[in-house]
């Protein structure tokens, strides 16, 4: 401690800016880690809370996928002796008609029995009306809203709140406002309650329920009741506790969580190299000091501990600040992830408060400290080995010996070979080990490659500016340790950018192909302007009505509903196979286009999306069993196609099969093809006029639906972009740090240059060139590592995240766009250090050391 106080503290205080910059690497890394994980957990917690708060005293929940089931199931369940109370539920995420309010979770319940399961604590309202379930039941426009929603919308009891229903935007009378607790706080407080039978009508559900919530009879156990219900209802129904159902839905977000973990790890990894760079430099700068300490009797262990404790303190400080910033950033991130979760996974939730998990915060602190200490391990070891005599020879320490280079090269080659060998295994842990080895290989070889590259670009720099270019290149060559750490940080950042950009590019290409070949109807008639909201449906009777309109060539009914296949969530899609066979231009990945549609139309086969095929390891001819509410479908896979109807994967059945096994002929949307010679805009107008005032419809053109899908894709990748930007920022901090140190390190050299007549402009340009050269090295190596990184990320996306089989396409345009940004940022990063160097008094500079 005494050494720390006598040696470290004065040094850190003297180099406050550098200390701050060094710590900033950890701050940012930890902040990204905390923000992403906390946001992710907040969304999951929000979802869990929504399930929990809605569940109330519910002990078991019965579902049959998203499509629901007939009312008669309720009577069957209520007839069981082990059931005390069973009530029907409809959950619909609908858009409010109020600007800026987004979506609401509308819970359709049966007030006659539901109060046994849920507490509807009312804060205000005309008590006589609100407490009179008869009025609530008699008036289908009755709703009760949460206090939060009421506050946000300025709604009072008796006021009318517009909601978009299948019959158009309708005003609902607010009969009561729930207290801000329990049920009212579900779905982030954006909750409204209405009668379940009114909800059936308003959202076009026919005579179906989404779910039955129940409590078991006194004396009966939950397990026994669960078994009894499973036997009674058959395999098409799921009987789960609310907790299990919550966990099940949370697994849908697991794919996204994998990406969060990867990018967070990258951010921390980059931070570690900033620490390494800074400490390596600090050791260099303080060699004389270390030499004196050693001469005075300080042991190597003491010297090592000084640096390790220093890094520990900085890591702890940086981690604490990073945790704080991360928690602040989590709120905004949670909103984005929450929206994504709803859009992409159909998970009805809204993150309420930011759920700070002490475990995550503790892990972040630990990761920050450990990263910091790890970053300082090698510099500390080097410091401990400083020879008091060598300490007087400035500069030598920055050199990397040929032996060290050789060792690094050998280790790198071994890591690379091992990484390649790992690819032979299909085991995922081995794959991830291979990924880590590939990165390790690159990290190990960076100093050597940096040195070689620095030598290679020396002539180029000299050609640009003979004096300044040579000075810049020599600075890099003479201090490979300092250079390589910065290059390494930049390389990792660029590699991350390349991988994510490549993934986005491949996804885009694949999505666009799908849009062109499958999503090719001219018009989409939908109950909501959002393709992802499936709360409201149309009756099938609309199909002939639309077909009868002048200019309509063909109408296809599309019905989708989430279900569980082999324990994983997926989407069941009922389509008119014969009609789709004519309009689809998709080339199947497996199967033949005319035959597979024919077989599916005859009810002899299923078509699955590639995503689902990947997730369930399905191939052509493999049997797939679907437990539908009204029977078990067992059919072979007759085709595999690229499809993005659902990120979890989709199984396509003929509409007749769907209708038969779900006993539900409602329609999610109609897909309309226009006759030749008819203007799309005219037909769109005709459809809107046909249902004006009678039904809520939205008619999207092919371009609009395309734009919507691509917007969702952008939102998904946008979140990745934020993390990439932070990674680049961390790397740029590294450049500023390295340059600042480089200048301090060369004060005497720079002073001498000015003393012998070098112009201020020359010194300035030399520093600028040095920064740009570092950026160039980082960029080149980053692009190379990015190519490898992209390979691994695409595999992870395919196998562990989304099941998307994406083509490897190197994102050349992104790299071309990134280059000026990196050079510009490096130049900007060099401005202050350059001016700082020039402001140093000449005499003082010459006296340095």
């Amino acid at each position: 401690m005494r050494l720390l106080r006598l040696v470290s503290w004065p040094y850190l205080r003297r180099h406050l800016l550098r200390t701050v910059l060094t710590t900033a690497g950890i701050v940012l890394g930890v902040a990204v880690f905390v923000a992403m994980h906390t946001a992710n957990q907040s969304v999951l917690a929000g979802f869990g809370q929504t399930i929990d708060r809605i569940a109330g005293k519910t002990e078991l929940q019965i579902t049959a996928g998203e499509a629901g089931f007939g009312e008669e199931v309720l009577e069957q369940v209520q007839g069981l002796s082990s059931v005390r109370v069973a009530v029907p539920v409809i959950e619909a995420v609908v858009e409010s008609g109020l600007a800026g309010q987004g979506t609401l979770l509308v819970l359709g319940i049966d007030m006659t029995g539901d109060r046994s399961l849920r507490a509807y604590d009312l804060a205000s309202g005309d008590e006589a009306v609100v407490k009179d379930p008869l009025v609530f039941l008699a008036q289908p426009d009755s709703i009760i809203v949460s206090s939060e929603l009421a506050e946000r919308t300025g709604t009072k009891v008796g006021a009318r709140l517009p909601l978009r229903t299948s019959e158009g935007e309708k005003p609902f009378v607010v009969r009561g406002i729930m207290k801000p607790a329990g049920l009212a706080t579900a779905f982030g407080g954006s909750l409204a309650i209405m009668d379940v039978y009114a909800a059936q009508k308003m959202f076009g559900r026919g005579r179906t329920f989404d779910r039955i919530d129940l409590a078991v009879a006194p004396g009966a156990t939950v397990d026994a009741c669960q078994r009894q219900l499973a036997t009674l209802l058959g395999p098409g129904f799921e009987v789960q506790t609310p907790v299990t159902r919550g966990r099940h839905a949370q697994t849908m977000l697991e794919g996204y969580a994998v990406m969060v973990r990867i990018s967070s790890a990258f951010a921390l990894f980059i931070g570690m190299f900033i620490i390494y760079s800074s400490f390596a430099i600090a050791v260099t700068e303080r060699r004389a000091e270390i030499g004196i300490l050693r001469a005075l009797g300080a042991t190597t262990g003491q010297i090592r501990r000084v640096f390790l404790v220093e890094s520990l303190v900085l890591g702890a400080l940086g981690s604490v600040v990073g945790v704080g910033l991360g928690v602040l950033g989590a709120r905004a991130t949670a909103a984005v992830i929450g929206k994504l979760a709803g859009d992409l996974y159909g998970v009805a939730q809204q993150a309420g408060d930011v759920a700070t998990d002490p475990v995550v915060l503790g892990l972040a602190l630990l990761a920050g400290v450990v990263t910091s200490v790890l970053g300082a391990v090698f510099p500390a070891r080097s410091a401990a080995r400083v020879d008091p005599v060598e300490a007087l020879h400035k500069g030598r320490f920055q050199l990397i010996s040929a032996r060290e280079n050789r060792t690094r090269a050998i280790l790198s080659a071994i890591a690379a070979a091992s990484s390649a060998a790992c690819l032979a295994s299909s085991a995922r842990p081995v794959f991830y080990a291979g990924y880590a080895l590939a990165i390790a290989s690159a990290v190990l070889v960076v100093p050597l490659v940096s040195l070689l590259l620095a030598r290679a670009i020396r002539p180029v720099l000299r050609a640009v500016r003979p004096v300044e270019g040579a000075l810049a290149a020599d600075s890099l060559i003479q201090a490979p340790r300092r250079t390589s750490a910065t290059v390494l940080a930049l390389m990792l950042s660029v590699a991350m950018v390349v991988a994510f950009a490549g993934m986005a590019r491949a996804s885009y290409a694949s999505i666009v192909t799908w849009l062109d070949t499958t999503m090719n109807p001219d018009l989409f008639v939908m109950p909501s302007p959002r393709l992802d909201l499936r709360a409201t449906r149309f009756p099938s009777s609309m199909s002939p009505e639309i077909a009868a309109l002048p200019g309509v060539e063909r109408v296809q009914m599309f019905r989708n509903a989430r279900l569980t296949l082999r324990g994983v969530p997926a989407m069941a899609v009922g389509i008119e196979m014969r009609s789709v066979a004519i309009t689809s231009r998709t080339t199947p990945i497996a199967g033949r286009a005319p035959a597979m549609y024919r077989e599916a139309a005859e009810g002899r086969g299923l078509i699955v999306s590639d995503t689902l095929a990947q997730r369930l390891r399905l191939g052509l001819g493999d049997g797939l069993t679907i437990q539908a509410p009204y029977g078990t479908i067992q059919l072979p896979v007759v085709g595999v196609i690229v499809d993005y109807t659902d990120q979890q994967g989709a199984v396509f059945l003929d509409r007749d099969v769907f209708t038969k096994y779900w006993r539900d002929d409602s329609v999610s949307d109609f897909r309309v093809f226009v006759k030749d010679g008819t203007r799309i805009a005219d037909l769109r107008r005709r459809i809107l006029e046909r249902y004006a005032g009678t039904r809520q419809i939205f008619v999207l053109t092919s371009e609009e639906s395309r734009a919507y899908v691509l917007k969702l894709a952008n939102e998904w990748f946008g979140l990745m972009d934020v993390q990439v930007a932070v990674a680049v920022l961390v790397a740029l901090l590294g450049i500023v740090n390295a340059l600042t140190v480089s200048i301090t390190d060369r004060r005497r050299e720079l002073g001498t240059l000015q003393a012998v007549g070098a112009l201020r402009g020359q010194v300035r340009r030399a520093i600028w060139l040095e920064a740009i050269a570092v950026a160039a090295l980082g960029l080149v190596l980053g692009c190379a590592l990015g190519a490898v990184n992209l390979f691994y990320v695409l595999d992870i996306v395919q196998r562990d995240v989304a099941g998307l089989r994406l083509d490897y396409q190197y994102p050349v345009t992104t790299v071309l766009a990134l280059a000026p940004a990196i050079f510009g940022a490096a130049f900007a990063a060099a401005l202050w250090p350059a001016e700082s160097a020039l402001r140093m008094p000449l005499v003082e500079s010459l006296e340095y050391e």
Binding site: T112, A128, L137, A138, Q139
Partner: protein
């Protein structure tokens, strides 16, 4: 749910029109020593083949204006084999809403509700019988037809209610019957075997009190024209007034079906 074997109507009042008048029969029961015959006799006197009336129900809660509802009540049959239709006439929000109740001798009643605004009927599953009946102070259990065999009766004394001498009889649900109440104390008038009051207990606390007022002989059935149910925990009271009372009216079975419920 109750699973009645020999249901006998007892103190079923208010919303379902189960306010039973008891016939002014002169049968003599040696009730001084045995409570059960008193209850049996009281229930026996309330029998009629059908019943019809117009009801006004008022819920008084706090100091605000009472919530009022009016309905038309029709019953065909009696004692566990009856069918009842209640059709709400006021206020405007509930006008046209109708309930069909089919009582069974061996199990709980089936109930359906017709909602004209939705143009559909729904089955009401009375699973939690302690639930309040549509915002009134009656619970669904209070409206059930009760089987005399499902209770044990004890004569606990005599006490006058509104100046009329009454037997005070404690009824305790047997183990085979689930009930929200631990026990009830019934006041049955000695002069006409009409119920004058029922206090229902949870443990040692009275939680609901049902009082019968303006008891008159209507077509040979002693009938309380006004009843009041007090929820002592909530501090609210529900009053029911019966008008245009008619027993043994010529009602048809076809009027007590789901189809009939939908047509009106």
């Amino acid at each position: 749910m109750s699973r009645c074997r020999t249901p006998v109507k007892m103190a079923v009042v208010a919303a379902l029109g189960a306010v039973l008048a008891l016939t002014a029969r002169t049968a003599i029961v040696d009730a001084a020593t045995d409570a059960r015959p008193i209850v049996e006799e009281a229930q026996k006197r309330g029998r009629s083949t059908s019943q019809r009336y117009e009801g006004l129900l008022q819920v008084f809660e706090g100091s605000g204006k009472p919530l009022e509802k009016r309905w038309m009540y029709s019953r065909l049959g009696s004692h566990g084999q009856s069918k009842v239709v209640i059709r709400f006439t006021e206020p405007a929000e509930v006008r046209g809403v109708a309930l069909l109740i089919v009582n069974h001798p061996d199990r709980a009643s089936d109930q359906w509700m017709w909602t004209p605004a939705l143009e559909r009927d729904r089955r009401i599953a009375l699973q939690d019988r302690s639930t309040r009946f549509f915002g009134t102070d009656f619970s669904f259990e209070d409206l059930e037809e009760r089987d005399v065999d499902q209770f044990d009766y004890t004569l606990v004394g005599e006490e006058a209610v509104d100046g009329a001498a009454c037997w005070t009889i404690q009824s305790v649900p047997k183990q085979t019957r689930s009930s929200q109440y631990t026990r009830s104390i019934n006041w049955i008038r000695k002069d006409n075997y009409a119920w004058a009051r029922i206090d229902s207990y949870v443990n040692n606390d009275v939680v609901r009190r049902l009082e019968f007022h303006d008891i008159r002989n209507v077509q040979g059935v002693w009938t309380a024209r006004e009843t009041a149910m007090t929820d002592l925990r909530r501090g609210s009271i529900t009053r029911l007034a019966l008008e245009k009372m008619e027993y043994n009216a010529p009602l048809k079975d076809s009027e007590f079906t789901l189809e009939a419920l939908r047509q009106r």
